[in-house]
């Protein structure tokens, strides 16, 4: 077990988060360098996630590191019944850092226990995806110049969406007020509502994605309402279009408002929003590279990169 692994956003203190945001801003200014020259990094994707894998591999390559790994577990010994422990111990012989995605919850925590090599969790089932949270935080920080005094509105599937849960936990370090906009079937789970109450976090629960909610928001975080979440398809048909965002809905919104979405989107943000300067989801994905560069350097214990680049 090692301490520099990044498994859960809940392991990071407020100071850790601020320091990573500061580093991400530095990497945005200096995206290409040789900081990771001589470092070999594994990307082990036990379930496919092209977007996340490309972002991590871009982050490594632009810092001069090398990548090995797999994106299809069907072609590995996992399909022959090898345990996760054995796969991790084998790969740890070769590399300086393991970045892993797994379909089982808690897999990255376990991996970090069976090796001395640092592990970055690139998503473990419905549990944690800390680099998504860091890029969300960085996008909010970059567009608002602060993480304090903001109103953040989360829309769509708040029950199953791990991104909104992790973002809520990370933002709880800061002075943020929340609007939770969803149908009752997909509202924020009780444990997070209790967490907000216990920590004096202000929040408002709404079933209605209306002008009042939109116009007071600094950030609107959209998520996709997925058909497979509903046991009653009639119910899905009733709510599927209630949480879609159209450009006209933004007419009286705040000038600093930005629309975020973890992507991929389907129709919850209509195409006519894309050209609105308040649409930020594509830049948000780009910010992922910088946030991941910051996390990779932290996991590898590289702290002097500012000196290396000068």
């Amino acid at each position: 077990m090692n301490n520099s692994s990044i498994v859960s956003i809940n392991d990071l203190s407020k100071q850790d988060i601020l320091s990573l945001l500061d580093d991400a801003a530095f990497f945005e200014q200096h995206p290409d360098s040789k900081i990771l020259d001589g470092k070999l990094i594994a990307t082990l994707f036990f379930e496919p996630s092209t977007r996340t894998r490309l972002s991590f591999e871009t982050a490594v390559n632009r810092l001069g590191g090398k990548v090995i790994g797999f994106s299809d577990p069907a072609a590995t010994s996992t399909s022959k019944g090898e345990t996760l422990k054995d796969t991790i111990k084998m790969v740890a012989n070769y590399v300086d850092l393991i970045i892993m995605r797994h379909y089982l919850e808690g897999a990255a925590r376990y991996a970090s226990e069976v090796t001395d090599i640092p592990v970055i969790n690139a998503g473990d089932g419905a549990h944690q995806h800390p680099s998504q949270t860091m890029l969300d935080l960085y996008s909010i920080f970059k567009t608002q110049n602060t993480l304090d005094g903001l109103t953040v509105t989360m829309v769509g599937d708040l029950k199953y969406g791990r991104t909104v849960h992790s973002l809520l936990m990370a933002l709880s370090h800061f002075d943020v007020r929340f609007n939770f906009v969803a149908c009752p079937e997909l509202q924020m789970p009780e444990e997070f509502i209790t967490f907000c109450r216990n920590n004096n976090i202000r929040f408002n629960i709404s079933e209605d994605f209306n002008a009042e909610v939109i116009n007071e928001s600094d950030i609107i975080y959209m998520t996709r309402v997925q058909r497979e979440r509903f046991s009653d398809l009639m119910q899905y048909e009733r709510v599927k279009d209630l949480y879609n965002l159209h450009n006209a809905m933004l007419d009286d919104s705040k000038p600093n408002l930005r629309i975020l979405h973890p992507l991929p989107r389907v129709n919850e943000i209509s195409q006519d929003v894309d050209d609105n300067p308040k649409a930020y989801y594509f830049q948000q994905a780009k910010n992922g590279v910088f946030a991941r560069q910051a996390m990779i350097c932290r996991a590898l214990g590289i702290t002097n990169f500012r000196d290396l680049i000068k």
């Binding site: 919850e105 376990y110 444990e191």
Partner: protein
Amino acid sequence: MNLHNSNMNEKKELAVAALRNGTVIDHIPADQLFKCVALLGIESLDKSVTIGNNLQSRRLGKKGIIKVEDTFFPDDVLSRIAIIAPSAVINIIRDYEVISKQPVRLPDEVIGIVECNNPKCITRNEPMKSRFRVINRNPVTLSCYYCEHELSAGQIK
């Protein structure tokens, strides 16, 4: 589970109550008694064992009690009891005297005893020990160290 009754001349009641050396686990909720019996591995003991259940209790309404002669359980075994019966009290008897009377104490972590009820948890899919943080003691609530799912007392198997 044989009734302790070595001397047939004595009254049964006395035989049940008197324990020269051993352990008495008292204040077990009646509906948890047989789970405690299983957790302690009492079925395989060859010592005298007395089990009472649905006894009147001011605290619990109905309680269970387990008396085991000449047996002193290690702490890690007793801490298992705390998971399902946090109200239980352990009495250590030597020479008919109660020399120690302590409530069961759940450790801060429970390792390798309870199964996570999340089928997608890594602990259910790898040959490894489960591990839980104790986030509430009475009623017991556990949080899986790996997937962070919470288990309430009724869900603990």
